[in-house]
């Protein structure tokens, strides 16, 4: 007998019941990590998506393989908002370890679904209870004991389907999408869902106002995570050498490479794979392989996270100074140090921009959407080879590991740019060539690749001082000229990196500056601010070094709030350095607790800043 039976349901809920809350609420699923609930949770999100309802899903999981608590929030929003909300109205309390707290955190009028063997110690009269006999249902379904825990999660899927009105067809479609059409698992899981639905029909009476109803808002959209998007981008960018070392949350990017390369890049030689993905012994080796391959003419990349970036410091400086292309993805997690490996952050900005002893500044791409992840996947190679330098792509766990809905990706609109590489023939036409000569005045010299048959092409790459002919030199003037050229090259980079996205509101004094995974939260916050009488412009930065679009935006506003997920306002600092004359008008809104940004934080902070 479940608490639901003993507790009379709250009147207030009954009232709400009269006017339904449709496609505008959040579900939080609390389960045990490693219990296989990811399938069920992904399925729920996808089903809503398939019903045409805008959905935002965030997985909050522990740094643990199995046993610790994990939460999955699914936000349904007819307005198309996908950011994290601070409250969820519907709780699936399937983790005994956290059930009491999760339950206590429900807002008044909230709903809880739970297995009937959980008892709440402090029952609430202001929430609606639905107990599900999950054990019985699974027993009845007599599935193989090994799979029992797995399918048990389908019970809450069935329960929610009944209560919220999730389309069963969408669920079935979702399952066959997940199991790539394999009938058996689909059937096994659908069976549980149906049994639960049948049981619910007989035993549950809908008493809450929350419903999901079909819309057309997701037509033509897809669902994907940023690590897969980035990997696909890299594949369409012609990656041939990938050297990596496993680390959360970057691993799934390489997993996606391994999954899609064989399909998309079969190659022409019978039985041969025209690419290499090597698991290195550590990140020092991974970046060394990337630079070795880039030097020899391959499009090479690695994917890592904070600790890996730290280990790549020395090689990053060498890549910058010896001018070797390579692409380094940093799927940011919370640091310093090992930090919170399964939480999201934008904290590696400053340390990566200045990575390496001595004077070095790197080119960094900042994807802010799934489309950016795909685009930067290929564009990073063009930039790295054009600029002959390591290019970093700073994504984060929220972008990289959560599934987002998005417009489908555009096929690259330009042919590959392999940069200034001289062939044997081209060299033959020239009477002189120097590896580090600034022929074009853009700071970018010409290079040759090993294997070039022209004897003139050979040169010695080194991290030590060199003259324009790449010959070792300790001459003060050689050093200074070379560094001046590298700075000129950095100025050239300003003009080549992806431009920010700008949404100007005429007449407002307030500008919001942000980047990366926070876009949806910023957009929602702007709507909320507008309702409270604060109009804002918005610029979403997409790369470092900073460039003129930003300058224009800053100069068009009086106060600029820089929103970022780190403790020290790192982007704010970089912008102040970029525009010292406006430094005091550039206001940090930095905050890091490992969770994706919630619009409420932005709204509150800016209202405070604007004294409203």
């Amino acid at each position: 007998m479940s608490t639901a039976d003993v507790l009379e349901q709250p009147t207030q809920a009954a009232e709400q019941n009269r006017d339904n809350i449709v496609n505008d609420f959040s579900i939080v699923v609390a389960t045990v990590n490693g219990s296989g609930s990811q399938t069920a949770n992904g399925l729920l999100a996808r089903a809503a998506f398939k019903m045409g309802v805008p959905v935002g899903a965030k997985n909050l999981f522990p740094s643990n393989i199995a046993g610790l608590p994990t939460w999955y929030t699914i936000r349904l929003s007819k307005h198309g908002y996908t950011a994290r909300r601070e409250v969820s109205e519907v709780l699936v309390a399937f983790n005994p370890a956290t059930a009491q707290d999760d339950y206590a955190a429900l807002p008044a009028g909230g709903v809880v679904l739970y297995p009937d063997d959980i008892k709440f110690l402090e029952p609430r009269s202001d929430v609606i209870h639905y107990a599900l006999p999950s054990k019985d249902i699974v027993k009845k379904a007599n599935v193989d004991s090994k799979l029992r825990d797995l399918v048990a999660n389908m019970v809450y899927v069935g329960g929610l389907a009944y209560l919220l009105g999730i389309d069963v067809g969408a669920l079935e479609e979702g399952l066959s999408h997940h199991f790539k059409g394999k009938a058996k698992p689909v059937e096994m899981n659908m069976n549980i869902i149906r049994m639960t639905l049948d049981w619910a029909q007989e035993n549950l009476t809908k008493q809450d106002p929350y419903r999901i109803e079909p819309m057309k808002a997701t037509d033509g959209l897809i669902m994907i995570d940023g690590n897969t998007a980035g990997a696909l981008g890299a594949i369409f960018g012609g990656v041939t050498v990938t050297a990596w070392y496993p680390i959360t949350p970057s691993t799934s990017l390489v997993d996606a490479l391994n999954a899609y390369l064989p399909l998309l890049r079969p190659g022409e030689e019978e039985g041969a794979q025209p690419y290499a993905v090597v698991q290195a012994e550590d990140e020092l080796a991974a970046i060394g392989m990337v630079l070795g391959a880039g030097w020899a003419g391959a499009r090479s990349m690695t994917s890592t996270s904070g600790p890996g970036i730290s280990l790549m410091t020395e090689f990053a400086g060498m890549g910058y100074f010896a001018e070797i292309p390579g692409v380094i993805w940093d799927i940011q997690r919370v640091g310093p140090s090992t930090g919170l490996p399964t939480r999201t952050s934008q904290g590696d900005l400053i340390s990566t921009y200045f990575l390496g002893h001595g004077d070095s500044r790197h080119v960094i791409l900042l994807p802010g959407s799934m489309q950016d992840c795909f685009e930067f996947g290929w564009r990073a190679f063009d930039l790295a080879e054009r600029l002959q330098t390591p290019v970093f792509v700073l994504s984060d766990l929220d972008l990289g590991m959560n599934v987002w809905m998005t417009e489908p990706f555009d096929y690259p609109d330009q042919p590959m740019d392999r940069g200034k590489v001289l062939s044997a023939e081209e060299l033959a036409q020239m009477e002189s060539w120097g590896r580090y000569v600034d022929v074009d005045g853009d700071g970018i010299p010409y290079r040759t690749l090993p294997g070039n048959t022209n004897p003139m092409s050979a040169y010695f790459t080194r991290g030590t001082g060199h003259n324009p002919q790449a010959v070792y030199s300790e001459r003060p003037d050689d050093w200074e000229e070379n560094l001046n050229r590298l700075q000129k090259k950095h100025e050239t980079a300003r003009t080549l990196v992806p431009k920010p996205r700008v949404e100007r509101k005429e007449g407002t004094e307030v500008g919001i500056i942000a980047f990366g995974s926070t876009d949806s939260a910023i957009q929602e916050a702007r709507d909320q601010l507008r309702e409270q009488g604060v109009e804002t412009s918005y610029i979403q930065l997409r790369a470092l070094p900073l460039e003129e679009t930003l300058r224009g935006f800053v100069n068009a506003h009086k106060r600029l709030y820089v929103v970022e997920l780190n403790a020290e306002g790192q982007m704010c600092q970089l912008i102040r350095l970029f525009m010292p004359e406006r430094a005091t008008d550039i206001i940090p809104l930095a905050h890091l607790d490992g969770l994706p940004l919630a619009p409420s934080y932005v709204r509150r902070a800016i209202l405070e800043g604007e004294k409203k």
């Binding site: 033509g220 959209l221 897809i222 669902m223 594949i235 369409f236 960018g237 012609g238 041939t240 050498v241 050297a243 998309l264 890049r265 190659g267 022409e268 030689e269 041969a272 794979q273 025209p274 290499a276 993905v277 090597v278 290195a280 012994e281 020092l284 080796a285 060394g288 392989m289 070795g292 391959a293 880039g294 030097w295 020899a296 003419g297 391959a298 090479s300 020395e314 090689f315 060498m318 290929w378 489908p408 990706f409 096929y411 042919p415 590959m416 040759t448 690749l449 090993p450 294997g451 048959t453 004897p455 092409s457 050979a458 040169y459 010695f460 790459t461 080194r462 991290g463 030590t464 010959v471």
Partner: protein, 348 residues
């Protein structure tokens, strides 16, 4: 990579019409008499005699006096003077990008045995085709005379006192790490260095040459086991080694049974003429035992210590095509628009 047609009878030019001078490097800035320079000149000789195409060779190194030396040979080859201890990873990347290149890499005992130990163990494990030369002087030359990890117990240095830690035997490390070509030599033994270099260049896989290369400035006193005098006095050869190119017929100048021939994949042969001891370089356990004993007895034994041609190279393990990845045309690098469209459809 190695020319196989019969050689012209022209003294000054080799099979591909290059002179010795075409294989030279920039003038050395190492100390007069440094063992590293004599190894460089053997590399030059060997490259000339084997008619290596300079543009097919890449010269790789880490940091150290030894690692500087690639600047002093094969000026017509691209070179990469990497970071201290990190040469192996850079070689691996280059070898994956373009398997048509032959890396000739020079490292030092500090570069490989101290900071580079991890990458050293892992590159031999991956069996990346390359010649991995360790110019081993038991000391940090470029930083002026600290002990390296290969210094023998009880060794004395003016600067650093007495070493009390056991030496790391980089040959033994390579063998147990899965390396299929492991040799030790002495910079003072030009002929052996040459023959071993030729054999290593012809070997398909990681070939390790641990060459005792005296540091005349910091570690060349009589009682240093890494000195010229000591080497000359104590070198004990496992065998008399001769490399026979594919295009020469093998004329054995020793009694049957008093020598071994090792035939390499692409044709050439390594002749090992028996000297004092019976030694079979294809016997892994014997090789390990010999090295352990040699260290115990303080013997300086040189020659081809271990050879095994069974392992696949990294490129083959990864199932890579013969075409260098770096040469793939854009058409093979970027899938067609249809592929993307289909994918997008699947994800809808």
């Amino acid at each position: 990579m190695v020319a196989t047609a019969r050689p012209e009878r022209n003294e000054k030019l080799n099979l591909i019409g290059l002179e010795k001078g075409d294989y030279k490097g920039r003038p050395s800035t190492l100390c007069q008499g440094c063992g590293h320079d004599s190894i460089s000149s053997q590399i030059i000789n060997v490259a000339f005699e084997m008619s290596l195409k300079p543009y097919e060779v890449i010269k790789m190194s880490g940091i150290g006096c030894s690692s500087k030396s690639p600047a002093y040979f094969l000026n017509r080859s691209h070179g990469f003077n990497a970071l201290h201890g990190r040469m192996p990873s850079v070689v691996t990347g280059a070898a994956l990008a373009n398997r048509g290149l032959m890396p000739i890499a020079v490292s030092g005992d500090g570069d490989t045995g101290s900071i580079g130990m991890g990458q050293y163990k892992h590159i031999v494990r991956r069996n990346v085709p390359m010649v991995y030369i360790i110019e081993n002087n038991g000391v940090y030359g470029l930083t002026k005379g600290q002990f390296s990890a290969t210094a023998d117990v009880g060794q004395k240095l003016k600067y650093a006192g007495t070493n009390e830690l056991p030496p790391i035997d980089l040959c033994l490390e390579a063998i147990i790490g899965g390396c299929g070509f492991v040799a030790r030599s002495f910079a003072g033994d030009a002929k052996q260095v040459r023959e071993l270099l030729k054999s290593a260049i012809s070997y398909e896989g990681t070939a390790v040459l641990d060459i005792i290369s005296p540091c005349v400035t910091f570690n060349n006193h009589e009682d240093s086991t890494k000195s010229y005098p000591y080497g000359k006095a104590h070198e004990e050869k496992l065998h008399d080694i001769t490399f026979v190119p594919a295009y020469e017929e093998i004329n054995v100048d020793y009694e049957p049974g008093t020598g071994i021939e090792v035939k390499l994949h692409d044709g050439p042969t390594i002749q090992l003429k028996k000297l004092d001891r019976d030694y079979d370089p294809t016997d892994k356990l014997q090789a390990m035992e010999m090295l352990v004993e040699a260290e115990r007895k303080q013997e300086f034994i040189t020659g081809l210590i271990y050879i095994n041609q069974e392992r696949a190279t990294l490129q083959d393990t990864l199932g890579m095509p013969q075409t260098p990845l770096a040469h793939l045309p854009a058409s093979q690098l970027r899938p067609p628009k249809e592929a993307l469209d289909k994918l997008m459809a699947d994800l809808a």
